[in-house]
């Protein structure tokens, strides 16, 4: 099945949950990433129970703290 992860196509063999997708898609710092699935936020508590399906659009949003000093 094909997913779009952060704007890029990703092909996986079978449906996996978001926790595993974070590993497969090589998310940086998976403990602190915000996940948006088809335009809705998924809470970290739902990462294990939420499975992706063909055509899903997933965004990993990262903390970015720099700016001043």
């Amino acid at each position: 099945m094909k997913l779009t992860v952060n704007g890029k196509e990703l092909t996986i063999e079978k449906s996996i949950n978001l926790k595993d997708l974070l590993v497969v898609a090589k998310a940086e710092q998976p403990d602190y990433v915000t996940v948006e699935l088809n335009g809705e936020f998924v809470d970290h508590s739902g990462f294990e129970s939420t499975f992706v399906k063909d055509g899903d659009k997933v965004e990993f949003l990262y903390f970015m703290g720099g700016g001043a000093r």
């Binding site: 710092q29 602190y32 335009g39 936020f41 970015m64 703290g65 720099g66 700016g67 001043a68 000093r69």
Partner: protein, 272 residues
Amino acid sequence: MSSLTNEQIERYSRHIILDKVGGKGQEKLLGGKVLVIGTGGLGAPAAMYLAAAGVGTIGLVDFDVVDLSNLQRQIIHQTKDVGKAKVQSGQETIAAMNSDVEVHTYNEMVTSKNIRDIIRDQDYDFIIDGTDNFPAKFLINDACVFEKKPFSHAGIIRFQGQLMTYVPGKGPCYRCVFPTMPPKDAVPTCRQAGVLGVMGGVIGTLQATEALKYILGIGDLLTGYLLTYDALTMTFRKIKIPRNPNCGICSDHPTITELIDYEQPACDLRHH
């Protein structure tokens, strides 16, 4: 009748000729009030472009002094300013650029005790978050939600940057996307990870653009969107972000009802 002087008509002629700005828009900018929190990588270019554009009142907040290592990206400060308070250095630069601009300086760190008073001091129209740490970013978000003020969030690190614009009642706040502070030292800062100097110029200038658009009432703001920028691949992505129905502060049933002073990351306290 326009209240612009002949000198102002000449100075701002490239604005005035724009259909969406005109003399009326320039008057709005001259009457506009923007608070820039942090006069570093993001705040320096943001404040300079706002000053050049003729935003009549600019507030600068920073508790730091200019360090030699700042000059690689914080273009509002110069070599002669090393050791000087950043807000003073910034005020002097703006004064030399454009005498139409009144600068208010706040030589202090924003905290739960002072931030709402600073925002109210000149009843600022728009706030720019140019800070480098998460306690300040969450504090600015929460204060702007409480004070019902729009603000531009941004962050830069290494070769990447991001920004979004909060407008009260119109879209998500920072906490909708990032509900809680990352643990201390979990996410690297520029001091730890480095940053290409121009990143502040690109992202800080986009923050200034949002402030100008907001004051002018033109175009579409980055409300409900997170814009990300990767300089290495030269990729901008505009990611639609929803309001979070469970947001701790801007939802219909908030759990956060007062400002919080989170612990500063140890790396940021090292020099102070």
